[in-house]
Symmetry: C6
Subunit: 241 residues, 6 copies
């Protein structure tokens, strides 16, 4: 019997025929402004606040204080969850930028894929995390010169997630129309792929979502309109575009 993890996004578990499959890693792919970070925060908040499944947020772009600030906009109190040992935010953004940080979870000795892996491992064990979000894989590129180095880094992170047996979201920001990832390796290592769209239609940008792949489970193949309201992402009822 397949064990499921609730996504925390109203309507998504039905599309996934029951939720994410426990222990898998899911690629959340989309252009700028499609809601990838919100998706991660919502997933972790639901786990920590509703399902007693602590989570780790590894942020490679935004500083932790900005993650907390944005979460608050949706009514998700990350600071409280952190104090209750239900959430850890790993600040990989500061060391990537070469800036100091007062965050407790960070990469003290500079940005390095092994250090990052160790930090993720340590944090996961500390609060017995069941959920992980890495936002975003695309950001790794700034620190690596060659495509091969980036791909190896992504491959190592995915292997670590596989070892930890956590259920994980990894985001990937795409810029063109070719594939579902920036380095064209993210989709290989993902066991599920969710694509978020923000496309113009009749003079307006419209949001939608489709599940393209889900190992170990069937899933809906429909493209669903979504909205980002003041409680986060919601799949629209009636669901079909």
């Amino acid at each position: 019997m397949i064990e499921r993890i609730k996504s925390g996004i109203p309507g998504l578990d039905g599309i996934l025929h029951g939720g994410f499959v426990k222990g898998t890693n899911i690629l959340v792919s989309g252009g700028a402004g499609t809601g990838k970070t919100i998706c991660c925060m919502q997933f972790l908040h639901a786990g920590a606040a509703k399902y007693d499944q602590p989570g780790i947020f590894i942020t490679l772009e935004e500083k932790p204080r900005e993650i907390r600030r944005e979460a608050k906009q949706f009514g998700w109190d990350f600071e409280k969850l952190e104090q209750e040992n239900k959430l850890i935010i790993v600040d990989a953004a500061s060391s990537k930028a070469g800036l100091p940080t007062t965050e407790p979870y960070t990469l003290r000795r500079g940005f390095d894929i092994s250090t990052l892996a160790q930090e993720i491992y340590k944090a996961t064990k500390q609060i017995d995390a069941q959920r992980i979000a890495i936002d975003s894989l695309s950001g790794l590129g700034i620190r690596f010169e060659s495509q091969t180095a980036i791909r190896n880094a992504i491959f190592k992170l995915a292997s670590l997630l596989g070892e930890l047996q956590t259920t994980s979201l990894m985001t990937s920001e795409i810029t063109g129309k070719n594939g579902y990832s920036r380095y064209h390796v993210e989709e290989f290592i993902a066991q599920g792929i969710i694509v978020l769209y923000l496309n113009e239609e009749n003079g307006e940008l419209r949001r939608s979502l489709v599940v393209r792949k889900l190992r170990f489970s069937s899933h809906s193949l429909k493209v669903y309109p979504i909205e980002i309201g003041n409680r986060g992402i919601v799949i629209m009822p009636g669901g079909e575009l």
Copy 2:
């Protein structure tokens, strides 16, 4: 007289005008989430469980335990087939990731195309395998810097399959719309090409399949809708799109 190998995919043998041609290697090409891995598992399971044709699954992306787990979802008991010496799973994924593994068939001395070839050869001889699946050729790229190196690796693998006289599936994950492969060499060395699609149509992703090439045999040129249900891939009856 051409000898045929049953594909194990309901409806596909008719499209192939009798099944795969014995001793050929077939490229299974498609984007993320199109069902390439399932196609391989179904092909090997049918051989091992129904036709007394043992098989080898070389996995370059997923760990063997995940392959077994996913197979189980479709009612295919890979562990039992492995115990009966009807199936061997070669774990090339762990050594590619530089991770330890307890799998019996793996690349102990690190990832290397010659070692991989030897391991395939050894496993094939051990259970007198008639079928081989390599999932996926695209994954080779993570370990090779230059395009030429990757192409040589793919060429060597295909040559080995030619020597072994097994009937083989090789998967290739494509990211754009140019051709049927990632390195644009896979289709040269394949004697057959099956393309799997997962394209949006009226707000829904639809699956389909077409046979584009089949040496030594005629074949249907129609594009067939397919479904992935709880028993694997099925060509839809009535067959034409």
Copy 3:
């Protein structure tokens, strides 16, 4: 409660559901001639002249005297604001071109990303600036050979803006149709994205604007026609295309 910064562009604050979010950095992306520089000048002028929020204009393309000249066309007296310590123009264009300049705020020791960062820091502190505009990120490429170097420079500038807690506009000139930026890293580091269009329609170029991303806030997803008149950019009333 989210604090808002008035954009100074008639109609835009409504689209932003109240104005820019204080302390964020916004990418203003568009092709040549779409009005990116005007957008920056209008934003800074409004702050300095109406809302008592001093600002810094970092110009990487135009010389300061040209910025002042163009501002005057729209009725914005930059020289007066500079004399009142409400505006500083940092001349990064001259040192980038290797030319002497008599501007007070410039990069005396040659163009260099750390020197630029220091100059921005110094100017910001001097007049307690609340607003910053960098025009344009795309211009950095002339001074850097490798993509990685450019991306690191952009990343560092964005980190500095984050530290300063100013509300910032950064422009990016795009040449093709792939993404919203020139180096495909600008959109990662931006917390908001405004896209300006100048596209042909029935034998005439038409201007429009859309907000694609806005951290910490909801926003309209409509594409709005805009005009550049003798008082700068105006969102057209009736607003929908």
Copy 4:
């Protein structure tokens, strides 16, 4: 008066206004599965079996035994023709793959463009060959690192064919939609170009053929539907699409 060489493909000679021009080299260009190899075999079989024009098949992809096997599918007995000194198959595939071979005509000292040229020259003289097929030029790329090296190799082969005064087909496998060749040099050195298509139309792949260039002769410019049946390629009667 132009001397003509019968193509052996029913219907094609009419399109060519009498057949291939004696002594020219023709590029047969198309994607995977379009029938390029069959076209070569049919051309050589017709020469050897019907017109007393011995031929050389230089195979860079498939092993000779596979060529013989596929030919047999169409009723073409290559082994018999080889015994009668009407056909020689040069095995360039094995040495390219670094594998041993028991074939009499091969590149014993490893793959090298000069060795290949010598082998072609030797074989041609031995049976006074009138026809040559090289399948495929695209396969050369696996052995050469730089584009310039590949192009020089192709140029040298074409020059050799020019010297030998044989009528030759060279295949080129294209992967995208840009031009008629892989290295964009094949069409320069070809005196004729035949393009084979396998494109989807109404849920079915359809085959067609067009002659795009033919030095020393006029030719039809129509696109003709073709079929590959159990006697090889046939231009469909009624001919126009």
Copy 5:
């Protein structure tokens, strides 16, 4: 009050809402055969012959004698203007080609961006030139290996024009459909952009023109049909396409 410079092209000054802005540099962008060189000649001829504004023509492609010859076709007597010190043609084409020249204004010590800048400076001062045309920026690429070198050269030329306070046209020949320039830096440094088109419509090439950018001034956004007759470029009356 903005001072204006008459373009000399009938109908264009109206589109520019009064002419070019004095002291700005304008990019004239278009494919081969769109009339960029004619536009430059017409602009300089009008200045020298009608408005008492001497001009400099820097030719990087055509030899001066060809410029004079083509001008004569339109009734513009460049030799007379040169004798009257109202026009100087700087021959940068010969030194770029490594050929000797008898022209008085040339780059004696070989092609080099600093030498070119000095020559432009010297000529400008000598006849107190008010107008400059550089035809074309695209031609610089032949002499520079790296994109960065070309871009620096273009940037330096534009800076010089800025210092000289002349009103300048710079041409850029585009080959594809991406952007308005060849090196994707020309549009950054231009204060105005005029695009010339020569596109097929109903079996005929049609000429048109649009002003895409004009610092310090409003301008028409319409696409205007143009003709090149025996007096040069003319905007067609009735003006809208």
Copy 6:
């Protein structure tokens, strides 16, 4: 008064408003099989046989004997013209291929752009040639590694043609849809551009021609259907598509 050179292609002189302009160089651009070589031969034959204007054919692809053979197909006796000192064929193809040749005009000391220029110069002076055809510029690429080297070579050839004051055709084979040349420099150095098309329309390839640029002259902008019959290229009467 502009002196004109008759093209020899029925109907083309009218399109050119009187013929080619004496002393200019014209780029003949088109894909494979569009008739570029025939255009050159027809131009030279008309000059030598009808207008007492001797010509030079520089062949970079085909061997001279093949040029002569193809010319004969159209009733043009090149050998006779060569004997009468009205035509010289310079064999640049053999030395480019590294093959020996018995042709009198060739590059004895190996392929080299200076040697080629000298050979062209010598041949031109020897028979007082008025017309030159270079077929093709695209072929230069096989001998040069870097784009800059190729472009310099093309630039030097064009400069030489400018010095010789001959009327010249240069062909360029294009493979994609971007621009009118292979190295994107040919159109800069050409004073005229003729584009030849061979595009599919309703299941048939159709030929057409358009003049895109013609310095020193007006010209028709229409796209004309053409045919290649047994007397060469003919513009179809009634002329408009």
